[in-house]
Every structure is written in structure tokens, then in C-alpha cells.
């Protein structure tokens, strides 16, 4: 485990999760709004939207600890011309800023629906470009074989959508459980509260979203395993330095990473997909999707740690 790069591990993972969650929520909004209208959907999705900001801010704060001289921090913005790191920081703060503005407008219902959708689209694009820039920081280092490979952007984008989707699922169900708990104080027990909180439309949106998230997780899991296999194959045949990197992807932590992601994005997601419609109460689904998210989050953090451990440079 790489403790030295913990700030970067936290930042890259949280930022990617935030971007992925924002994009996934956008997709849910667009698809569901056609059937039920924006107002009905907002009720379901807005709480998840509000959770993205804190996650992104937490990531940006973590990245500050990567700078050994915080007094000079603003200097990192100086080299837009050739430094992907400068671009990443600009895009990261841009995504966070735009996201905040959008969340505020959404909360207050300011501007028209179309205007907010346009802003959401811009924010999502900035977020995806952020992930691309993040990838290029490592891909552009021609001196580091383990990073100078298409596996880097492929893995970063896969993590973005996998963690993002599961985070949305966990947030959606978390919000529902919270509402049920609040409502149950005034109603005749949990059952009554749940029927009040989760109306027919909300239930349909939630179950459809969870099914979609389950499918997405399973597909992305497959993609991730393919990327890992191809990456290892590439490194193993590329010389001594690359071989040293390949050796990092063996042993207990690597196996733990694979098992965690498989359980979370594979097994639990299959259950999520199958039981999303048939579950009679919200609680089992909430536990299922939250467990899935937690397992994958830990797995991806371990994976990112191994990514930094795999940094071996050519030369002397």
C-alpha cells in the first residue's frame, strides 16, 4: 500500500467518482424526465446531486497535501501551456465551481429548466475533460512505462463511471431511507411512512435507476478486468523496468482489490438488478447498493494505490 501518495490517491479517486456521479445523475434526469417530467424527477435525484459537491471539495482539499510548500500553491496555475497538472487543477476547480452554481440554481429552481440543463451539460463536459487531463498527467510521462499506456486513461474513465454510478445508487437510496426515517415519526410506523415518501413515480424512477446502475456496474467490471489483463500482458513483455511495475500487480493487495471489486460490482450488482423491482421495502435495496458501493470504493482505492506503486522510471 502506498501511503506516501495518499493525497493523490484520495484526490484522483474522489474527483473521478464526483464526475462520474454527476454524469450518471444527468443521464437519469434526461431519461426519466421524458416520462415523468422534471419536477417529479428532481424530488428523487436532487439529494444525490447535493452530495457530489462535498465529495469533490474533499478531494481537492486532499490534493493540497501533495504540495510540500503550501505557501506557493497558487503557482501551480502558471503553466497552462505545457503542464497537464496545471490543466487538471484548473479543470478541477472549474468543475467544482460550475457544479456548485448548478446545484444552487437547482435548489432554488432559478432560471428555466433548459438553462439549468445547459449548465449541467457544460459542467459534465468540464468534468470529463478533467478526467482526461488527469489521465494525461501520467500518460504523458514517456519515462514511466506503467503509466505511458492507454490503460491509464481507460482505467481512469472506468473508475469514473463505475464509482460514479454506484455512488449515485447509494445516495439515492440513502436519501429515501432518510426521508422514511423522518416521515415515520409522524406516521403510523415505517410502512406508512414508506408509502408516503415513495410514491408510484418515485418508486418507478428508483427501481429503473437501480437496475440501470446494476447493469452498468457489471459491464464496467468486465471492462475493468479486461483493462487489467491487457495492461499486465503489456508490461510483462516490455523490458526490465516495465517488468518491475508488473510485479506490483501480484500478491495480496492486488488479489484483495480484484475480489472487492468483483463482489461489489459483480455479485452484489447482479442481486441489485434482479431484486430492484421485486423488493417490497426500501431497506434491502439500500443495504445492497451501499454495500456494493463501499466494496468497490475500497477496491478502487487499493487499485489506485497500486497504480502509484507501479511507478518505475527508465534511466538511472
Amino acid at each position: 500500500m502506498n501511503v506516501h501518495e495518499l493525497p493523490m490517491i484520495m484526490f484522483t479517486t474522489l474527483a473521478q467518482m464526483s464526475v462520474g456521479a454527476f454524469v450518471v445523475l444527468g443521464i437519469i434526469q434526461i431519461v426519466a424526465a421524458r416520462r415523468f417530467g422534471s419536477d417529479a424527477i428532481d424530488k428523487v435525484t436532487d439529494p444525490a446531486l447535493y452530495a457530489i459537491g462535498p465529495a469533490m471539495v474533499l478531494g481537492l482539499v486532499a490534493s493540497m497535501f501533495h504540495m510540500n510548500d503550501p505557501m506557493h500553491t497558487l503557482n501551480v496555475l502558471r503553466n497552462v501551456d505545457s503542464s497537464w497538472l496545471t490543466r487538471e487543477i484548473l479543470l478541477g476547480t472549474g468543475f467544482a465551481g460550475l457544479g456548485f452554481v448548478f446545484a444552487f440554481l437547482q435548489w432554488k429552481k432559478l432560471g428555466s429548466v433548459r438553462q439549468r440543463q445547459a449548465l449541467a451539460l457544460v459542467t459534465a463536459v468540464v468534468g470529463l475533460v478533467l478526467v482526461g487531463s488527469m489521465s494525461m498527467i501520467y500518460y504523458s510521462l514517456v519515462t514511466v512505462p506503467a503509466w505511458h499506456t492507454l490503460a491509464t486513461p481507460a482505467q481512469f474513465f472506468t473508475t469514473t463511471f463505475l464509482l460514479g454510478a454506484l455512488a449515485v445508487g447509494a445516495a439515492l437510496m440513502g436519501a429515501v431511507m432518510w426521508r422514511i426515517r423522518v416521515a415515520s415519526r409522524d406516521a403510523d410506523g415505517v410502512v406508512g411512512a414508506e408509502q408516503t415518501v415513495v410514491d408510484t413515480t418515485s418508486r418507478t424512477v428508483l427501481t429503473s435507476s437501480l437496475k440501470g446502475i446494476g447493469v452498468a456496474a457489471i459491464v464496467l467490471l468486465g471492462i475493468e478486468f479486461i483493462i487489467i489483463a491487457l495492461h499486465l500482458s503489456e508490461l510483462s513483455g516490455a523490458g526490465d523496468v516495465a517488468g518491475q511495475s508488473a510485479a506490483v500487480f501480484s500478491g495480496g493487495w492486488f488479489v484483495a482489490r480484484l475480489v472487492l471489486v468483483f463482489l461489489g460490482a459483480g455479485l452484489l450488482s447482479v442481486f441489485l438488478f434482479r431484486y430492484a423491482s421485486s423488493a417490497s421495502t426500501a431497506r434491502p435495496l439500500a443495504i445492497l447498493v451501499s454495500s456494493s458501493f463501499a466494496l468497490v470504493l475500497v477496491g478502487e482505492l487499493i487499485g489506485r494505490s497500486l497504480f502509484y506503486d507501479s511507478m518505475f522510471r527508465i534511466g538511472m
Partner: protein, 204 residues
């Protein structure tokens, strides 16, 4: 203005590391920061020669610091522009801008930028700018007892010693185009075709 560089004659180097110590001493470098390092590259095995088995073992040294490259990857990746190139081609670090993110350290195939924990900044060879301003040689060049190290306008060094800038264990010079000229050891192996290994990695 002439771009400056180093030359290194492997045929003359006996690996005494006086250059490394001189550099560390002159710049008061803390433990763990070593701007100039000497790698011992060794290889070989036994060969059948008729009825005789003979060894073809070889060993040679490479003294390496910043090569003040023509295409410095450290300058390209630095987010603060602290890493910059002077008119004389010397790559140096503006300590007032550096945030110590260590991105340049990841990038450089010669390990030239080194992190100083006490200042929280990157540090590196600037070819003893203060000595040169006084008309003196860089400390490492002055200290070399066998005169293996040299410095000066890179065009002159190339005219005198040739244009070779990479042998094992150095990386492909095409990556950053180092302002470095090497006079190779008789056993020196081409970059990328090495059969040996660095046997003093703990010193690098």
C-alpha cells in the same frame, strides 16, 4: 548565447566518486539529496574458447547529473514554471515558485531533480552558476582527478568528443536530447541493448 553542457570520458573514469562528493560538499546537500551520482554498470559471463573457458566480464562507470537537456521534460511538466531554461541552456529551479509537488522527479530519466525535505522544494544541478560567474569550473569538474569530466559550449564538446549521448545504463537520448557528450568505455553497451546491471543502486 552558447548552450552549455557536460562531457564525460568513460575511458578515464575510475569510479572514485570525487565528483559526487565535491558537488554535495559545495552545495551543502542534505542526506538523501545527491545531484551527481556515479553508476557502476557490470555484466558478463564465461565463454568457451577452444579447450579453455574464459570470462568476458566487464565493468565501467557513468557519472551523471543534470544534462540540461534541449527538450527538458522537467520544464514541460512543471505546473509552476519554477523549472525553467536560462539563456545559456542551463535548467534551474526558481525556489520562490516551487511547490514541491515532485512531478518533475517522476518525469526525469536522469533523476536530476531531487526533493529536499527541509525546504519542501525540488533542487538540482545548475552547473555551479556562482562558480561559473567567477570564471571557475563547476565543482564536480574541478574535483575529477582523472579529468574525465568536462564542461563548456555543447557545440565545442561535440566537435571535440563526438555526439554520443547515451550508453547503458543511460536512457535513449532521443527522449530529452541531453546536452551531454560521452566518450564510451571500450566495453560500453548501446542504450537499450544492455546485458548487464547497475551494481550500486543504493548509491544512486
Amino acid at each position: 548565447m552558447d548552450k552549455l553542457g557536460f562531457s564525460f570520458d568513460q575511458t578515464l573514469c575510475n569510479g572514485c566518486k570525487a565528483c559526487s562528493v565535491a558537488c554535495k560538499d559545495k552545495h551543502d546537500l542534505p542526506v538523501g539529496v545527491t545531484w551527481r551520482r556515479v553508476a557502476e554498470y557490470t555484466g558478463g559471463t564465461w565463454q568457451q574458447d577452444g579447450d579453455t573457458v574464459v570470462p568476458n566480464v566487464f565493468s565501467y562507470f557513468t557519472s551523471m547529473s543534470c544534462n540540461h537537456c534541449e527538450d527538458p521534460i522537467c520544464v514541460k511538466v512543471c505546473p509552476t514554471t519554477a523549472m525553467h531554461v536560462g539563456e545559456d541552456g542551463i535548467v534551474s529551479i526558481d525556489q520562490d515558485k516551487c511547490v514541491g509537488c515532485r512531478y518533475c522527479e517522476w518525469a526525469c530519466p536522469y533523476s536530476a531533480p531531487q526533493f529536499d525535505p527541509s525546504s519542501g522544494h525540488m533542487t538540482k544541478c545548475d552547473m555551479c552558476a556562482d562558480y561559473r560567474a567567477e570564471g571557475e569550473d563547476p565543482a564536480c569538474v574541478a574535483a575529477c582527478p582523472s579529468r574525465a569530466l568536462g564542461w563548456g559550449p555543447i557545440d565545442e564538446l561535440r566537435a571535440e568528443h563526438g555526439t554520443l549521448a547515451g550508453v547503458e545504463p543511460l536512457p535513449d537520448p532521443a527522449i530529452t536530447r541531453p546536452r551531454l557528450v560521452i566518450v564510451p568505455h571500450r566495453d560500453a553497451q548501446p542504450t537499450g541493448q544492455g546485458t548487464g546491471a547497475i551494481i550500486n543502486p543504493e548509491e544512486l
